[in-house]
Amino acid sequence: MADSFNQFPVRIFAVIVLYKMQPSESIALRTLLAAIPGLQSGEADVRILLYDNTPGGQTVGVLPPGVQYKANSQNGALSAAYNYALEIAQNESFDWLLTLDQDTTLPIDFLCKLCNAAAFVAPMDEVAAIAPRISSDGRIVSPFTLMKHWMLLSYFPDGFLGIPLDNVYAINSAFMIKVSALKAIGGYDPRFNLDFCDLVIGHRLQYNHLRVFVAGNIHVEHELSVIDLKNRVTPGRYEDIQSAEEAFYDEYLGRVEGIVLLMRLVFRLTYKLWRDGATSSYFPVGLRFLLKRLFYSRKHRMKSWEQSIKGHSAVKASL
């Protein structure tokens, strides 16, 4: 139809989540601002929201013009930040929500290429999101597809551009999703407030038969802390990740995937932790989650996870 022609400008609401970092120090904000002048006139309407999760708040100084700021001194983590941004994006009729972590480096032509992809997929109702190629320390980390029963993961090759028929999962940073689609799938799950919130979104998109455009021509560099267990993941964080993983499998996946996770936990405990140079404090965490999966029912695990979420929320509210 005539109205399916590309409509400019592409209206993007970008949210950058800060944590114990000044806006001026955030490479994501700096590179995003640097990418804006590269846009053609009338190509895009970009607004930026800085969502500051620094506990206790911080003084941010003067912000660049047009940048909105919201402090959440209770650290509502990612899902609260994204859902807050989603509300604004919807109220102000933005078409796309771009989610960014503070430590993502965007190329100078990021917005040009992203707008080009957005204009292309905008008339396709079944396409809900755009996932650029993300690498961390020279290694591709996103997007990827998962084989049947989540047994194996395979990354899309460098340069692949398109809308695969397979399921597509991508990390949050530099991921851009249609506001209407995100609203339709219920936004970000607040129970997965940090770890696995990207996989939950990916899963909900697949469940609703929505597809993801893999923008292999957009290369983004991101520091993915979870792949550096030794230096960047404390035993406490490791426990949070394990807990989110357990809950994700119990909440969204079936029995066969549960068995796959069990095998993965065994592999992690017997080989991967050792290979990654983990200290002895990580092994009890790994063992505990393996035993939980072996000896506790799904119902029991879910109950204890929901109680722990409530406990966390109560602690934050009391602060």
């Binding site: 139809m1 005539a2 399916s4 022609f5 590309n6 400019f8 400008p9 002048p37 590269g38 053609q40 006139s41 009338g42 190509e43 100078i108 032509d109 040009c112 707008c115 080009n116 992809a117 204009a119 292309f120 008339p123 396709m124 090759p157 340069g159 692949f160 551009l161 398109g162 809308i163 695969p164 028929l165 893999v214 021509n217």
Partner: protein
């Protein structure tokens, strides 16, 4: 930052020359021409500059009757085949500043939103210098026939599934009809190879694109219905046409590929002679032709075959 010319994104005009090749058919009887006219009426005139060229290969010419305004007509009473028609269109496209050339057969049915979707795809790939063409998904009698990828040494072909939209990393081959190619790319490659006047002219063009490391956007969101004359031997092909096809195939393999592909062709010819002829209901005349080409490949040297093919091409050109 690369220097960019500041133009308004909404001012981009889709400049397309569409060539429909007629053969023993009046323009008003061509389903392609009629559906193209309908698709044009569905496009906002300020967004696109679309011109239609009817290239009539009817031997001896024909009375076309009154043509819709803006439609260009060219009669080639000698029936120069597809390659000559496309090269003629390419010349006009270049002289008149068109960016894209859409090639079509008379018996392709276009959907009403064909040009709108094509425009979106063209706008998407326009800034990508490594993408040369856009190919839709083509079905014939309910079966996807184009585009497809071929495995190493042309052993097997794999149809790209319906609904896939993207730029695969593999070599993509597609039928001429419905293919839209950048005029600049066609010109840089010297246009269509006139030695392949009809059969395999699409394969030759695709192969040359891949040799130049140029990629193709598979627009699986655009579905065309097309009658492939070579598919049903009994109803739509003649022994003469079949021989012409086998000759073009022989020329294509000898010209562009090595010994390994040659061996694969021997196996394919044998399979065709023994099984496929019987399955498609080919008569003795077809079997004789297939057998002759099988013997040629087994008994004659590549040099000899090439020589005879070149002589045939020269004779045709002189005629």
């Amino acid at each position: 930052m690369p220097e960019r010319i500041q133009t308004d994104a909404n001012d981009r005009v889709f400049k397309l020359l569409a060539v429909v090749v007629l053969y023993k058919m009046k323009p008003r009887e061509s389903v392609c021409f009629n559906s193209l006219q309908t698709a044009i009426s569905n496009v906002q005139p300020e967004k696109a500059e679309i011109r239609v060229l009817l290239y009539d290969n009817t031997p001896g010419g024909q009375d076309t009757g009154e043509l819709p305004s803006g439609v260009q007509y060219k009669a080639d009473c000698e029936n120069g085949g597809l390659a000559r028609a496309y090269n003629y269109a390419l010349k006009i496209a270049q002289e008149d500043g068109f960016d894209w050339l859409l090639t079509m057969d008379q018996d392709t049915t276009l959907p009403i939103d064909f040009l709108c979707k094509l425009w979106c795809a063209a706008a998407f790939v326009a800034p990508m210098p490594d993408v040369a063409a856009i190919v839709p998904s083509i079905s014939s009698e309910g079966r996807v026939v184009s585009p497809f990828t071929v495995m190493k040494y042309w052993t097997f072909s794999r149809r790209i599934p319906r609904g896939f939209v993207g730029i695969p990393l593999e070599s993509v081959y597609a039928a001429n009809s419905g293919t839209t190619t950048k005029v600049s790319v066609l010109k840089a490659m010297g246009g269509y190879d006139t030695r392949f006047r009809l059969d395999l002219s699409d394969f030759v063009m695709n192969h040359r694109l891949h040799c130049h490391k140029l990629r193709v956007l598979v627009a699986g969101n655009i579905h065309l219905e097309h009658e492939l004359s070579g598919q049903d031997l009994k109803i739509r092909s003649t022994p003469g046409r079949y021989e012409e096809y086998l000759h073009a195939e022989e020329g294509f393999c000898d010209e562009y590929f090595g010994r390994a592909v040659g061996l694969v062709v021997v196996v394919k010819l044998f399979y065709r002679f023994v099984y496929k002829m019987w399955r498609h209901g080919g008569s003795l005349a077809y079997s004789k032709i297939a057998f002759r080409y099988l013997c040629r490949r087994v008994l004659l040297s590549q040099k000899r075959r090439m020589k005879s093919w070149k002589e045939l091409v020269s004779r045709r050109l002189v005629a």
